[in-house]
């Protein structure tokens, strides 16, 4: 709870600082605020609390996910000054909207009630629409914002329909109560309730960008400013998936026979299509967008069985994915600076220009591919283990083929860095970005080598 308050206040303070023209203290304040929120959030670990008649339920699940998301946002802010250097207009509005979006993301991982779910999701999404369009002079950014807004509005509508139907049959918004209701009426669940589940499922698939509801993802990720894309692809996506998981494990776990196959199809489609489509992208951002669809598919594999291990595996995957993806985006931002194309060619000959940066990128990409002993391997391994324990052999085989395909496009970048000849311009890193990259690399290795730390958090 303190976390949400801290972050909301921080968002407002950021705005005020912006108005009062004290730009020098803007970022330090944001960092301080995020650190305080991080401390508050991690202090809640091991305690369960309920707020406002179960509107918000703080448990280990919500604590670890919100801590991860705050940490992710912190990492993204580390690169913010560097990224916005070239922007002439003040950035404090972007910063505060980013923070508000984070508040929404945290709210939905803590939700104990469908209304809170809706409110949180909208806080997050509306902020994201604004952020997608924050590069006001760029047509593609505007396009992204418009597309995202329209698609998002549709999915919100569908979500509301679903919530209404659920409320209509059960008479409550409370997640525990709905869960209880499904146990009591296990044999006589009305069709309306099932329709509600499907509508919510579709809306959530929209929000997290799972196939076949993924059409907005490549365009929006491509058009948005890269910093925002990094945030959308990691923090916002993980928030959506965590809420998705929380909702279905708390309310609908007894009806898994009904919706399980649908999630199976979503996961199957995302893995296959995400990886195959990524193969044909020349723009790194689009490629990462499709790869994020594929990773959504892998995470959705964890929805087939709800237990402590699955939750741990899901969190582990989220953490590994968040760190590697932020890393990849950070390197992309640094590299793109001189060559404005943003295609794979931007990476040509990077190894000669900046060894440190290319080694870091290789580690991020190998982690995304799932090469041991990096975090991405253990993440995939955990998910495969859950799937195989429940005998989802074909889904696992699809996932494996997906991983094999992913080598081809992740390695495109590695090959470009190592083997192609690029321009002569040097890539110079500021101390802050170096720290950021070192943190990311060390964490990816550490999480991969000591997975126990993360798996037992929930």
């Amino acid at each position: 709870m303190n976390t949400i308050i801290t972050l909301s206040v921080l968002g407002m303070i950021t705005m005020i600082i912006g108005v009062s023209n004290k730009k020098d203290i803007l970022l330090p304040v944001v960092f301080m605020g995020l650190l305080v929120a991080l401390v508050f959030s991690s202090l809640e670990w091991g305690h369960s609390n309920h707020y406002f008649n179960n509107m918000l339920v703080v448990d280990n699940f919500s604590t670890v996910f919100s801590t991860l998301m705050i940490f992710g946002t912190f990492l993204i802010f580390l690169i913010a000054r560097h990224y916005f250097r070239s922007f002439e207009k003040p950035m404090e509005d972007v910063y505060s909207v980013l923070l508000f979006s984070l508040v929404g993301a945290i709210t939905i991982t803590m939700m104990g009630n469908l209304t809170m779910f809706f409110v949180g999701l909208e806080i997050m999404s509306v902020s994201l629409y604004i952020l997608a369009g924050s590069k006001k002079t760029s047509p593609s950014s505007n396009e992204a914002a418009m597309k995202y807004f329209l698609m998002g509005a549709f999915s919100t509508g569908i979500l509301l329909f679903g919530i209404t139907l659920i409320y209509g049959t059960t008479g409550t918004f409370d997640l525990f109560e709905i869960g209880k209701w499904t146990i009591e009426n296990k044999d006589s669940v009305p069709l309306v309730f099932k329709a509600g589940i499907i509508l919510i499922l579709v809306a959530m698939a929209f929000k997290v960008g799972a196939v076949p509801f993924h059409f907005w993802v490549p365009d929006v990720y491509h058009g948005s400013p890269t910093l925002v894309t990094a945030y959308m692809a990691t923090v916002a996506k993980i928030a959506g998936l965590a809420a998705f998981y929380r909702l279905f494990s708390m309310c609908f776990s007894n009806l898994q026979d009904f919706w399980g196959p649908i999630v199976w199809v979503l996961s199957f489609g995302s893995i296959l299509l995400g990886n195959l489509a990524a193969l044909h992208q020349s723009h790194v951002k689009r490629m990462l967008a499709y790869s994020s669809i594929a990773h959504t598919g892998y995470i959705l594999m964890g929805f087939i069985n709800f237990n402590n291990f699955t939750t741990g595996a899901l969190f582990y995957y989220s953490a590994a994915y968040l760190l590697s993806t932020i890393g990849a985006f950070v390197v992309l931002m640094l590299v793109r600076e001189d060559i404005k194309t943003g295609t794979v060619d931007a990476f040509n000959g990077l190894m000669k220009k900046n060894k440190f940066l290319s080694i870091a990128m290789i580690i991020f990409l190998l982690s995304l591919t799932g090469i041991p002993p990096l975090a991405g391997f253990m993440a995939k391994f955990n998910i495969f283990t859950t799937a195989l324990e429940n005998r989802f052999i074909w889904l696992t085989i699809t996932a494996i083929l997906g991983s094999a395909i992913s080598v081809a496009y992740y390695f495109k970048i590695i090959i470009a860095m190592l083997l192609k000849v690029g321009s002569e311009t040097k890539v110079i890193l500021s101390a802050r970005t170096k720290v950021l990259l070192v943190i990311l690399v060390l964490m990816i290795i550490a999480i991969g080598v000591f997975p126990d730390l993360f798996l037992q958090l929930i």
Partner: protein, 480 residues
């Protein structure tokens, strides 16, 4: 503990070398590291207790939640392969000094990382650990080949990487599948996994998933299509690692997992594997005869040799398997020697096209003698190391199926054909302008050639030195 130490030493040196700039120092350190590994290994050979199932056993908890342990230990077969790695690495590193690889630090760091991973593969007694090292061995060789390789390397190495990685992932699924079958709390420990007594249908899945990964790595026909190109395009140290050591990972995997886990499946499908391996053996030999370039010839001849080893292992006869173990060691030494010779020729002539050579014997008698010994070992002449293994394997195949054995026996003839043909064209024949000034082996090259020659004869004359280590392990494996 010793196993873990062996894994750690090259890994530590790999990190040190990676951050260094001074080229000479890097070379010295890399070579020094491989010598330290060799010394530890020799020390281990004296400590090795042949009556134990696993020597140098250690078991530390790693991931409690998943039941993964740092469980290391060496049986006779594993120890022999560790010895092979320790013996070959100094030679490979020493031979690489004749070429100048830009980014020296990265190059030797990758080679040492590969060495560390190879020790890990042969020493792991935990399924997941085995898999991790298995993949870890792939990454360095990919970078070695793709950065320092020859023409067309990008396409070829990517194919190689995707091929091996995707097939290995099937093995990962099989390992996890077996893991989910272990009693609660699940574990990856080999001691538990191997006593599972899987049902026939379970064995079916596990067998084919493992086989896919191992068949690509060995490679068994028809999964070999990555092999000749990758061997050819790789820089010589890479080719040596690829041909001398990587196939052994696959063969070792068969001994470690498939034979104990799926006895019923081998009974049922083993014959098909043997047949395909023998097809590969003949196919490789026939194509080798037609090659015009030394490295490709070696690649296909290697394909032929590993085919025989794979066929022998899948007969699961005691003689055949122990023959195959000896041949793993001999083939490792011989093929590295062959690539070493190809590298010498390439450095002096700037080409490895066979028809551009000829008459080298006149200007380089030492090389000619060395080449002859290696060639005779390759065609399995008695008294050389190639003979013992091949004899045992063919004997084993003969008691398994006479027709298959007869066909496999042809490979010796074919082997003699392409080897003698190569030798005749390259070493004898007409001297041309370039071969007339062919420089003989230098002191450094002699330092590589002599240990190889000694190893060829020692194993050929006293094969019990090798079988002494593996005897119990093979016996235990077959009569489980």
């Amino acid at each position: 503990m010793l196993t873990f130490l062996m894994i750690l030493v090259p890994f530590a040196f790999s990190l040190i070398v990676f951050f260094m700039k001074d080229k000479d120092l890097i070379r010295k350190l890399a070579f020094g590291s491989s010598i330290i590994s060799l010394l530890i290994c020799i020390y281990g050979a004296f400590l090795f207790d042949k009556s134990l199932e696993y020597n140098f056993y250690m078991n530390w908890t790693w991931i409690r939640t998943l039941g993964v342990n740092l469980e290391f230990g060496l049986d006779g077969i594993g120890f022999l392969l560790v010895m092979l790695v320790s013996f070959l690495l100094p030679l490979i590193i020493l031979s690489s000094f004749s070429s100048n690889y830009s980014g020296t630090g990265n190059f030797y760091a990758l080679i040492l990382l590969m060495q560390s991973a190879l020790y890990g593969v042969f020493g792991s007694l935990d399924g997941l650990l085995f898999y991790i090292y298995w993949e870890l061995a792939l990454v360095p060789i990919y970078f070695i080949t793709s950065v320092w390789g020859g023409v067309n390397r990008i396409r070829i190495t990517l194919k190689f990487f995707i091929y091996t990685l995707s097939s290995s992932l099937f093995m990962l699924v099989a390992i996890i599948y077996v893991y989910t079958l272990t009693p609660d709390p699940h574990t990856f420990s080999l001691f538990v996994i191997c006593k599972l007594n899987l049902t026939e249908s379970q064995q079916f899945w596990v067998f084919w998933a493992f086989l896919l990964a191992l068949a690509v790595k060995i490679p068994i026909f028809p999964f070999h299509s990555w092999q000749p190109d990758t061997y050819t395009v790789s820089p010589t140290p890479g080719s040596m690692l690829l041909s001398g050591l990587m196939p052994k990972m696959g063969l070792f995997g068969v001994l470690r997992f498939i034979i104990p886990l799926c006895p019923l499946a081998i009974e049922q499908y083993g014959e098909y594997v043997v047949i395909f391996a023998v097809i590969g053996l003949i196919y490789g030999a026939l194509i080798a005869i037609r090659q015009k370039e030394i490295k490709r010839l070696i690649a296909f001849s290697s394909l032929s040799h590993v085919g025989l080893m794979a066929a022998a292992i899948f007969t699961i006869g005691e003689n055949a398997v122990s023959g195959s173990v000896i041949q793993m060691i001999s083939h490792g030494i011989n093929v590295v020697a062959m690539f070493f010779i190809a590298d010498i020729i390439f450095l002096r002539m700037k080409t490895t096209q066979i028809d551009k050579l000829g008459g080298i014997a006149k200007s380089a008698p030492k090389l000619a003698i060395f080449f002859m010994i290696v060639m005779l070992a390759n065609v399995a002449l008695p008294l050389t190391n190639g003979f013992v293994g091949e004899f045992l394997m063919l004997g084993g195949l003969f008691s398994y199926n006479k027709i298959i054995a007869a066909i496999a026996g042809l490979s010796i003839i074919f082997g003699a054909v392409y080897m003698f043909w190569l030798y005749q064209k390259a070493i004898f024949g007409q001297t041309n302008a370039q071969t007339a000034i062919f420089e003989d082996l230098t002191a450094r090259e002699m330092a590589i050639a002599i240990p190889i020659v000694i190893a060829i004869f020692v194993i050929g004359l006293y094969p019990t030195m090798v079988t002494g280590f593996s005897e119990n392990a093979v016996h235990h494996l077959i009569n489980l």
